[in-house]
């Protein structure tokens, strides 16, 4: 469904990703793990069409989307939940969700999507009139995911969704991801919480210094000594 070939990404003159190849099949949960500064978030930004310049190709259902800006990738079904949530703190929950339903395709069905989002994330329904900045970290993360769901994604890119969350929310979040997949969504997730994410994911890629050094089934990677090497740089 999502295919990345020979991707090099740059911040100005600095090259961060080197010849990255990866693919995500429909309804798959794929994890992307690696040490800090390995290029995980850069990869997510590049996939979403933000910040970086790149060479190589990004295909969504075979369509090259690498030259599209972010707002043209979203209506095609590729939506990023950015690191640190990036909500609009002075707007309330409903208003934040409204912004997710910007595209011409998402707008007419926004009301139904909102019902679905509220059913999936009941905490948002309770807090609908509360400004986003006053929500707890876990609630904010749910709102960030809710905002992305309002755009009717087919592939959801999650960048460190459990960062700074209470353990109960971490569990809730992984349950949610499994739920979303069951409803047909494809998920690419960047996580520091390696044990948890590798148990949930079907497959995983390990990124080190901007290169993919390892890939495999989620659970089996956990036992792989090379994973520790990639993380600790031993």
């Amino acid at each position: 469904m999502l295919e990345v070939k020979d991707l090099n990404a740059f911040y100005g003159p600095v090259q961060v990703l080197h010849g990255v190849n990866l693919s995500v099949a429909a309804s798959e949960i794929v994890a992307l793990v690696g040490a800090n500064a390995a290029g995980k978030s850069t990869l997510m930004f590049t996939l979403a069409g933000l910040r970086t310049t790149h060479t190589g190709s990004i295909l969504l259902d075979g369509e090259p989307i690498g030259d599209f800006p972010a707002y043209e990738r979203v209506p095609r079904g590729l939506v990023l939940v950015p690191e640190r949530r990036r909500l609009f703190p002075f707007m309330n929950v409903i208003e934040n969700l409204e912004i997710g339903a910007y595209s011409a395709a998402a707008r007419p069905v926004a009301r139904d999507t909102l019902d679905e989002v509220f059913q999936l994330l009941p905490v948002l329904a309770e807090r609908r009139k509360q400004v986003a900045g006053s929500l707890s970290g876990g609630e904010q993360q749910m709102l960030a995911i809710g905002r992305a769901l309002m755009a009717k994604p087919r592939v959801l890119l999650l960048d460190e969704p459990t960062e700074g969350l209470a353990p109960i929310y971490v569990k809730l979040l992984f349950d949610l991801i499994v739920n979303l997949r069951r409803s047909g969504l494809t998920v690419l997730i960047v996580e520091q919480n390696v044990h948890h994410v590798l148990r949930t994911a079907d497959r995983a890629y390990v990124l080190e210094n901007g290169r993919i050094v390892l890939q495999g089934q989620g659970e089996s990677l956990l036992k792989d000594e090379r994973l520790k090497v990639a993380y600790l740089g031993l």
């Binding site: 979403a48 069409g49 933000l50 910040r51 800006p69 972010a70 707002y71 979203v74 209506p75 939506v79 990023l80 939940v81 950015p82 990036r86 909500l87 609009f88 703190p89 002075f90 707007m91 409903i94 208003e95 969700l97 409204e98 912004i99 997710g100 339903a101 910007y102 595209s103 998402a106 926004a110 009301r111 909102l114 019902d115 509220f118 329904a125 609908r128 009139k129 905002r147 992305a148 755009a151």
Partner: protein, 339 residues
């Protein structure tokens, strides 16, 4: 226009006391009634003149605020849209006999087109670079107007024959102008309130506060900014036409001057950027202050009125961060806390 599906529990409807985003408040209604009273009472011609200008500039500050306050497009070039509006309706009136009641919409549309074009080209720039580009664009318009004498009358300017007539939008009484300008304020204010309570307003706030997050959510930042600039320029152009009908004389050195652009930006900055009530409060404070200082002190010592005016501005900027609107809210909170 909210997408909220489930009806929230019905509370007895009561207007909030202080201005809130997207809602009408008692404060705003009281202010409007006060303006009506002010129009009705007997005043000297000089004070009436101050009132007309205060209303006009409140409307212009509101119009600027849509771009500068809501979309984060700090423009020092709005005098160009003002000038385009003023010249369009005046040229149509003087040379083609078209009534300014229609001409002002033509001026607004032309100004909107210019604003949208400017945003398409310049809104990719950030911060000071955007500001400078708007300043430069307005200078291009001013110099163009100065030199295109066959159309604009060049440096000699354009005059409207003072034939008082409703169809000509020329009045003898300043009260009529005050009503006209107040109607303009209400028009721009209503648009501002509708905007800030709608999803288009949320898009503006989103793009202003975190462009990257807005893009990630699927919002097209350039389109949103261009629309905001177009709307802001449209409303500014209408203000320009009204100004022309009041002064009955136009010349590029004044109507397209950078000083005027700064004035449009100053009123919301003093009153409260990105709030609807801000530019109105800003104009109600600043415009009478500058006009009265000029008329009472202008002859006493050259430049003294400007010194006092500037000192006043500095005090406001220092002691009211967030503008008068924020001060009003703080006052309201303090008042509520008391038993």
């Amino acid at each position: 226009m909210s997408i909220e599906p489930l009806a929230p529990p019905k509370k007895p409807k009561r207007l909030p006391v202080l201005p809130q985003r997207g809602k009408l408040s008692m404060f705003e209604i009281a202010l409007f009634v006060a303006c009506l009273v002010l129009i009705a009472v007997e005043l000297s011609q000089n004070l009436r003149d101050v009132m007309v200008l205060t209303f006009l500039f409140a409307g212009l500050g509101l119009a600027w605020n849509i771009a500068g306050g809501y979309a984060g497009l700090i423009s020092f070039g709005h005098a160009a849209f003002f000038g385009i509006g003023a010249y369009t309706s005046t040229i149509l009136f003087v040379s083609a006999g078209l009534t300014p009641w229609i001409g002002l919409w033509c001026g607004g549309v032309l100004a909107a087109a210019a604003g949208a074009l400017l945003a398409l080209i310049c809104a990719r720039l950030r911060g000071p670079f955007f500001i400078l580009s708007t300043l430069a664009a307005a200078e291009v318009v001013r110099i163009g107007a100065l030199n295109w004498s066959s159309l604009t009358g060049g440096p000699e300017g354009l005059s409207i024959l003072p034939v008082a007539n409703v169809a000509n939008m020329v009045f003898v009484s300043k009260t009529a102008y005050a009503v006209l300008m107040l109607a303009y304020v209400v028009f721009v204010y209503a648009i501002t309130k509708a905007l800030e309570g709608s999803r288009y307003g949320y898009y503006l706030f989103a793009v202003r506060d975190d462009e990257e997050a807005a893009s990630a959510a699927g919002v097209n930042p350039l389109l949103v900014r261009t629309a905001a600039m177009g709307l802001s320029a449209f409303l500014t152009g209408i203000g320009g036409s009204l100004f022309a009908q009041y002064f009955l004389y136009l010349d590029p050195t004044f109507v397209i001057s950078p000083e005027l652009s700064f004035q449009f930006a100053l009123l919301p900055a003093v009153g409260g950027l990105g709030t609807a009530i801000g530019p109105v409060l800003g104009s109600f404070l600043i415009t009478p202050l500058s006009e009265l200082l000029r008329s009472y002190l202008g002859n006493a010592a050259a430049g003294l009125h400007l010194v006092i005016y500037s000192a006043g501005l500095i005090v406001v900027m220092l002691y009211f961060p967030g503008g008068l609107a924020a001060a009003l809210n703080r006052l309201g909170r303090g008042w509520k806390r008391k038993p």
